[in-house]
Assembly symmetry: C2
């Protein structure tokens, strides 16, 4: 006795009930053609995830309910009524409160509903705000194999009703997820699956969403883990996939698996393939950034982007990511030199365009700068910011005229300490490297060029953009180091402050200089108002600016300088 289960790692879109239903029907057909008897889709696959306050809207609750019932009917009509299809969606409880649930569809009806028990309400998650919690497990058997079903956060705790049921009544602990990517998280998830498998003495079948949604990117990496912690099978990451597994009723026998890629569903055409075990180095981060950017642009109905290319490393990396995500024909670069732009800047920007094949144009800013200066006579910081704001206005004008989405090139280190001009280089619909510290910007650029060399392709990023000392070029001979600490030190302190929530005391204990730490922390605190108006960008670190880190702007708390 055995059963063939398909873990359908798909990329739905938030709010697109019709599109997601079509996706689920299509993938179910494909899996069933390969012999699947159970097809499991991710958490809230029907509605997309996270739907945020849409969950509270009665009209959306009704529509989701109707879409789930209609999906059962449609699957039956397609001749798939014998298959058990498990679909995460939005439900309501007896009091009319929203739930994060999974419907078990078969024979044209919703046979059973499981309601998520543990609701995450930390980091980027607000599920106590949105959902009422379930308390009942959901067990079912198919081909002699017994399953207990859970949803995502349920397995981050060892006391869920689903785990109780898995321990006593199941052979397979099946978990449907929409678990967002961050650095090192895949290995945490894998360990979690191993722990739960050992505790329940079940095979753990884990299916995760893939794709970008605003600041989040879901990395997929669906997997099957044995009770002794072995990774039996895994999907690719950062792409849609169906993982087919044959589960025997007797868990001692061997489990076999077969992967079906979904290349026809071209959510991402980038050149990078991240396997289930590729969790080291910048490759998975680069893939996350490409997918996050691709999906933000395309799911918002845009085809092309425009980016100011200065010859510097940040805009070069952003352009390279955009070309990988959207193709060179959909990426427009604008050189906007001023009197302070060096010759190498223009040459490096041109080199980037030639290497990547993006369409570049040049618009010098001197005439606009002079027109403002005749009226305003600015000096110092005001004069520097003016140049950045003229560039922002030019990019927005091109965006308004030609329909491209503007990409903001700011990195996390700059955003932290406020080394960016609001309404200037901060202009954009999306900030692809918003959560990438500057030292990682260099690493990613080097990694991307190395990948090109290894694969016999042209390096997209001019080596000089990587090697030269960074400069905003807003005054003669300016260098970032005039205003900022060395980036290696800066990023180390910022990681402590932002990701680990350390104060000066902890930072000094970890070996950092108190005066340096204090300086960086104060710059970071003061820049909160700028971050509040910054565009969204893909989260890749443990704590990204945005939903992850909610601080008041009006805030007189300052970490003490204990030097």
């Amino acid at each position: 006795m055995s059963v063939r289960l398909a873990l359908a790692q798909v990329n739905p879109c938030v709010g697109d009930l019709a599109g997601n239903s079509a996706l689920i029907r299509e993938v179910t057909e494909r899996a069933v053609a390969e012999g699947a008897q159970i097809v499991a889709f991710p958490e809230m696959a029907l509605t997309g995830y996270p739907v945020e306050d849409l969950a509270l809207r009665r009209s959306f609750q009704r529509a989701a309910q109707k879409a789930l019932e209609q999906l059962a009917v449609d699957l039956q009509r397609l001749g798939l009524g014998d298959v058990l299809v498990i679909v995460g969606s939005l439900g309501t409880d007896h009091d009319g409160r929203a739930t994060n649930c999974a419907g078990l569809l078969r024979g044209g009806v919703v046979e059973q509903i499981y309601v998520k028990h543990h609701l995450p309400n930390y980091g980027v998650f607000d599920e106590h705000r949105l959902f009422s919690a379930g308390s009942q497990p959901c067990v079912f058997a198919e081909g002699g194999v017994r399953f207990s079903l859970a949803i995502c956060e349920d397995i981050w705790h060892s006391d869920s009703p689903a785990q109780q049921a898995a321990t006593t009544d199941a052979d397979v602990f099946l978990i449907i997820n929409a678990s967002p990517f961050e650095q090192n998280k895949f290995n945490v998830r894998r360990q979690l699956c191993a722990d739960r498998a050992a505790e329940t003495n079940c095979i753990v079948a884990y299916v995760n969403q893939v794709g970008g949604q605003d600041e989040l990117v879901f990395d997929g990496g669906s997997m099957l883990v044995s009770p002794d912690g072995e990774l039996l099978a895994g999907s690719v990451r950062f792409a849609e996939d169906i993982l087919l597994v044959d589960l025997p009723a007797d868990t001692d026998t061997t489990v076999t698996s077969e992967r079906i890629a979904l290349p026809d569903r071209d959510h991402w055409s980038g050149p990078f393939d991240v396997g289930i075990t590729d969790t080291e180095g910048p490759g998975e981060l680069y893939a996350a950034l490409v997918l996050g950017l691709h999906d933000y642009v395309t799911k918002n109905g845009v085809e092309s982007v425009v980016v100011g290319i200065s010859g510097g490393i940040d805009s070069a990396l952003v352009a390279a990511l955009a070309v990988d995500a959207l193709g060179p024909n959909n990426v427009h670069g604008v050189m906007m030199p001023s009197q302070y732009s060096s010759e190498h800047s223009v040459a490096d920007a041109q080199g980037l365009a030639e290497r990547t094949g993006l369409a570049a144009r040049k618009i010098p800013i001197a005439p606009m700068f002079d027109a403002y200066q005749d009226a305003l006579n600015l000096t110092g910081l005001a004069e520097e910011n003016l140049q950045a704001r003229i560039r922002g206005a030019i990019l927005m004008a091109i965006s308004n005229s030609e329909g491209h989405l503007v990409l903001a090139p700011g990195n996390k280190s700059e955003l932290a300490v406020g080394y960016s001009t609001i309404y200037g280089d901060a202009v954009g619909g999306f900030g692809p490297i918003k959560d990438v510290p500057k030292t990682l910007v260099w690493q990613l650029a080097r990694w991307r060029n190395q990948w090109a060399r290894d694969n016999g392709k042209t390096e997209p990023i001019p080596p000089n953009s990587i090697e030269k000392p960074p400069s905003a070029e807003l005054r003669p001979g300016q260098l970032d180091t005039d205003s900022l600490p060395d980036y290696a030190e800066l990023d180390a302190v910022l990681t402590g402050y932002i990701e680990n929530m350390s104060g000066t005391e902890e930072l000094v204990a970890a070996g950092y200089d108190s005066a340096l730490a204090t300086r960086i922390l104060r710059m970071t605190d003061f820049a909160e108002y700028k971050r509040r108006q910054y565009p969204p960008g893909t989260k890749i670190t443990k704590v990204a600016f945005g939903r992850d880190r909610r601080l008041p702007i009006t805030n007189r708390w300052r970490e003490p300088d204990i030097s």
Copy 2:
């Protein structure tokens, strides 16, 4: 037997432990000089409220703990050791998790701690994210009068341990609060106090914070309510105040009260006085906006503001609010006419400057516009937006040079449907009327002028700015009604969609045209990305854009057109 209780309605600042400690010491001295034996401060008065993710920071937790203990010592040193001082603050539980708590200080020590039981996690509140909940009541007696203590949300439910204790063991149910203002909320709170008083057969003593904190404004309105629902005494609203009440041990005897204003603590010098029962009409809304604007500017260490004055009603109201909040010498107006600006616009802007006394200057935008156009040759929307963006850059240049904070003049109706230019008129550190629907903008302007007439002062807003049809003046003869529905209809539909979370079905059932509703709802959905980058502004409605309404940008859900 009786006791004199002071309800200290103060205006702390988030994160300012030293400043808030000084404020509490000072107000305690003042209250004790008037005979107070118990002084009760608002929820988290020592840390300010809401502290958001600061609550999770270990260094801030330690500092708050130390500040509370030091405050007890300092009060003792000031000879106030016999007085019971109740101070809301940030604590930690046995597992090191943060709590929203109140310390009872006396004799140089923290005698007792009460931990808030009901944690709000809806609307603007994220307390499940931040705090662990308490489970124990806190009862104490003073002068023969028995008290049960609660914190804010505790009394929005009738099952708190504090209410149980009030019912069985207390004469007075004392609640310390940081309850943010919104339209009609004062009356809800008053009814709540009456209900709890009746249920517990206690006198309810309710002390609320006052002041602005980012998007929130706290209105004060501290009060004493008898078991039969009578309002025995109340503080002013939108200003600091001490309400002194003599509470007899026998609740049947009469309670007396005495108000002490704190005019020396000049958090707000506006001309408007809102009494405890002034809950009708635009007066309380105007006061909320003035206080929210004043506190955002001053608590962020800025003294002055700059605003583009177009002659239109939005910028006129913003300028009037700013003059009331900060005085005319701290308000800088900039007229930035273009070829499309009408004569009446310049005249009305000049009239506004003369009436209010703000400092106005004129910077025509034609030279900058021509410089961009020589390079870009824009038409249509791109040309219109360019004008707004030149104005934004000019305001930011003045801000950078002179240190004024830029005010964005957008109203809620515009922000809803995206009728504003991102990086153009949306430029600003604060948007004072961000949560004010357009129809209410007119009402507030008329109310402010009427107040001036009633008090023998100059009307600040030129009547023509109120009466003329609104226009963005970005192309010849343009009127808002070219692109938007009539504002009365627009605002009615927006209120249904945003504040009541109605879908098309509910709106049509309420009598609105489906096509009109669908058009407005789609405009609102589409503009989400613009709102995400808009500056903060004072919340006055039930659901403001921002923390109150969390929706994805990438969102394909559209309310169905059911016509």
